[in-house]
Subunit: 353 residues, 4 copies
């Protein structure tokens, strides 16, 4: 019953086997191996595009390098005020963008409000030397609240960004879960709605340590390999990254994993929703469930070994915040979560009454 | 017959098995897992010290983060003019040290000349505002020429550094090979001779993608985890790094691997040294052989599939450079190199006469 | 009738004469001249302290270098959400702090709210690697709203900061106006209430281009000269800076200038306050008047050549924002503002009825 | 008899008067004043070009911002191994270029050797991810040895640079002295021979604290104002910079000043050349004289109050270095040096026999 994060599991068996297979023999280093080449080929195929691509071992590196590819030194990145890049990455985006500035934009349900974005942009007028200049809009899909922008919402935001001379980055740490939830193509949720640069997450969804950066305008991504090396993110035994990504993308494996994680979260949310004493402030759309639970349930669950994090109630509108006998928690399901774990969790929660 | 690099092999079977075993089940993320804890314990034990430790996936990250731990923004790092950090890491050390400056010091056989170091230090007087201020001396052991500083030579260099207010970093990408060659303890070649911060390489010697940074003054390394995260170098599924390092250090495995690689290089160097038409400009001490070979041999070997790199003849004193019908090459052996490969290489070389 | 800024005037005649006098003859460069030495002596005397001191030509340099002196690479600077360092300096603080992060804290009347500060600090827990670590609290005195923290309020904020391991910076671009308003000593408004580093503004108050940075813990400021040089902020003909600051501090000249500017603003505020059609949302305390004026007045004044900036109504609580026929403006007085200008302004404003 | 530097004098009387005149009244801030506009107009006129222009207060800022305009983060700047940007600016170029790397190229007489440049460039191949990528060639005219590249030599170097995809920067700290020496047009020594970006020095030649940056491709310089602000180099009372540069360029004043300084240095060099006991290792071409003098002369001169710096003998070929009873010194003349000072110096030197 580990619902702490989708990174508390290891790699999917299919991915692990690929790593093992790729370990044999001598191969060119620094990404020249056939596994890395195959990974790139599959990414192009799946996205129906010819982007500049880099494989890296962490999501923070993916986001920071993706942003650095499109943000000039000291440029401004607009993002949701609770975006992972703003709150959880120890100022890595600032570091990689040569001291860029992250500016938070408010919005309910973890989603950037278009009007709030327009208002914020007016505070950074073009050509006024006192103000750092806007460079990028970063959108998280799924959001930090486990919600999803519709394709129309994405198009609206990228439209505002492009009108204002910004490039658009998507933090797709849970891109697979979002695509699985929509049933759309990867292209439809990225370059077709105006995403210029994508952090294509995979570690949370079944690789051991592998993410991809896709810069859809290949020429714009020309410096990506050098930035990657300068950040210390080019693995000498590149086969490790290549084999993971190639296996992850093989025959829809990545979507199978995501569909499973989403389904587990749905099972959990459905179960909790039946309870009068439990509230789910945000609609579950991917593999994350945010819930306000009675203290009694929390105690019972943790006593039984269930693992999950308390979440910051300030992220909720005042009216929805937990009462004095409640706690706001995040429950994450992964490709490895089993139905029995969900059922046991729900049973324990009910038993706390 | 792949002598191109010691990173063209995968992980040693023992290390790979440990990765596989560690993949099962849920574990705390970001280095809180028992494998990472065990890796740290073994590093402390082997070095007979209590350093601040970080595990990272690349050697460039290890060097750059190690330097950043001890170099203030814009500080000067003195190193051999052909040091890997100066020549081969795409300015990652400059990036991580907040625009530090690398200053090359000459010296034969890939080793910093103590007198040249003293002369160079005089060009960077303390307290003169026009000059960037010296912060660090970085020593590669083994060197880029495959040679070794004696412990006495290390002590001389660290002495000069400390007298001049510098901390001392060791780029130990091939630390294991050096220790295996000397038969000394890890402590004797690091903190006991005045090394303050060590990049403890492992990837070239049998891990898949894992290196350690050791800051021997633990307090001085307090910011290391934050710098690591800020660089995007904290793996969420930390078990991947921890399991590799723990297995690598288990029951002397790391030294077994290094001894093998060294022995293979010895076999190769010994064979080449019997040949009148071949010259070895630098004495072989670890797993690298640098040789000047006749064009005919080169052609024959490559035709037969042998892989190795041409090396820059400018690194040699003028008198030792290759003649018009010779080429300077680097030949690297790894833990996976087999005696038969060496023998076949030597045979082919001889047959070119 | 130029109320656009306190930097639209040149230097005070006394300061200008000092520049002219200092121009004669040869003198040591890079701050070794007697004028710079005298400026440092006077700063020590006036502040009753022995800080590390640097003279620079711009306020942005003063703030950015002051922050860089106390913020490690990537550290967090907490400041009011509308602080000059956050809003008006083109990300110079981020640049100089090696990609530090500025985090805005709300508060009415331009002043950081202590509770909001405590709440914000909780979002950046110590030792949690995902979060950039807090390094500094920056307080503007006077604020961007022309208001003043009382000495007690300053002590409360610096107390919170120090408890949380932060050093405290004061952006004293209008430090002189604040001291003149309070009638306190410079020490009482800086190191005695817990300010660790001060940007001591002078350009807005009568120098041509000269500010001072004071790091009250002299040892902590040891690297200041090198950071200054690295930023390109050491003037070769240092006499230009030294002569300005020495003259500015001579016989209370700096306070005479500030008292005059404050008195002019008072005359203006007093006049406006008599008018029913005008609102002053923030109490005037230094040389800045913020007023909501009817469109008719605005038009009349600008037609007559009065110069001043519209101000962002979003900085006001919703209830206080200008109505559809009003505009929010900022009116700045300087050492050079003449009573007749104020009277003419008031007369024109009244005549718009 | 101050020959220590050309920055030990103040401003020329003509420049000082302009500063005084410009001080009166209110004017737009941040460079919007008529003096700054006129300065820009004159720079365009004198260079027969429409560059992007910035005025700054220091030479270090001029060089660092000029380089930052054309060097992407982490790019390599090639320059003479003893270039001011490499040796005397406290790593400011590295700071402003977001951790760029300066690579020294050898060459006699302070001039980059074209063959050495070609050799060095081969060490930084395009597209090889291990190597930082070349971005810029920086040429000092006049050099740190007081020598001049001929226009042909400049064209050769810029040709090599452009063929290799580098932009070319000229550090023109003594540009005026060089133009005065050649009698050519400013255009002929800059954009017409392939210079892309120029640091146009003025402080050493008669302003108090003002230099210009010219990016000849105006579009390429679009970000210059933002970089300038981000560095803290936009003066609020911009009239101070504008009035200096406008006066400096008025009716050839700048060239009059430079011709005088050059003539004084010629008088000094001519006098020294008559002496058997004195050697001038580098031909005097501008306002700098480098001489090897007997200890007796040095002692006599310093006793009489002459000021000048010892210079690093390692900058000379071994055969030309001072003997055991000699010292290598640098003697600088400025616009303010008087013939009587030269004559007195020569007399004292002769009297030491």
């Amino acid at each position: 019953m580990n619902f702490a994060s989708d990174n508390t599991s290891g790699a999917s068996p299919h991915v692990l086997e690929a790593i093992v297979r790729a370990n044999a023999g001598t191969l060119p280093s620094y990404g020249g191996d056939p596994h890395s080449v195959e990974a790139q080929r599959r990414l192009c195929e799946i996205f129906a595009a010819e982007p500049a691509i880099a494989l890296v071992a962490t999501g923070t590196a993916a986001n920071a390098l993706a942003l650095a590819s499109v943000v000039p030194p000291g440029g401004v990145v607009f993002c949701h005020e609770h975006a992972h890049i703003n709150d959880e990455e120890c100022a890595a985006p600032e570091f990689y963008t040569a001291a860029g500035k992250l500016v938070g934009v408010p919005g309910e349900n973890g989603k950037i409000d278009p009007d709030a974005l327009r208002t914020t942009l007016r505070r950074f007028p073009r050509g006024v030397v006192r103000q750092a200049q806007g460079a990028c809009l970063s959108i998280s899909q799924a959001t930090e609240s486990g919600t999803l922008y519709t394709l129309g919402e994405l198009r609206e935001l990228t439209g505002i960004a492009h009108e204002n001379g910004l490039v658009v980055h998507m933090d797709g740490a849970r891109f697979a879960n979002a695509v699985a939830s929509f049933g759309c193509t990867p292209a439809a949720m990225s370059h077709e709605v105006g995403i210029d640069v994508l952090s294509f997450g995979a570690t949370k969804n079944g690789t051991l340590a592998c993410e991809a950066i896709l810069v859809f305008d290949k020429a714009a991504g020309a410096a990506l390999p050098f930035r990657q090396k300068r950040g210390g993110h080019v693995l000498s035994k590149g086969r490790f990254l290549g084999s993971q990504m190639a296996a992850y993308l093989e025959e829809g494996h990545w979507l199978d994993l995501a569909r499973h994680a989403n389904a587990m979260a749905k099972r959990l949310a459905d179960g909790l929703q039946l309870r009068n004493s439990v509230r789910l402030p945000w609609t579950r759309q991917v593999n994350e469930v945010f819930a306000i639970l009675p203290h009694a349930s929390i105690a019972r669950l943790r006593e039984a070994g269930a693992m999950f994090y308390d979440w910051d109630p300030d992220y909720l509108p005042v009216a929805q915040r937990p009462g004095p006998t409640e706690t706001f928690v995040r429950l994450l399901c992964s490709f490895a979560t089993e139905p029995a774990e969900i059922d046991r969790f729900l049973e324990l929660e009910r038993a706390a009454d």
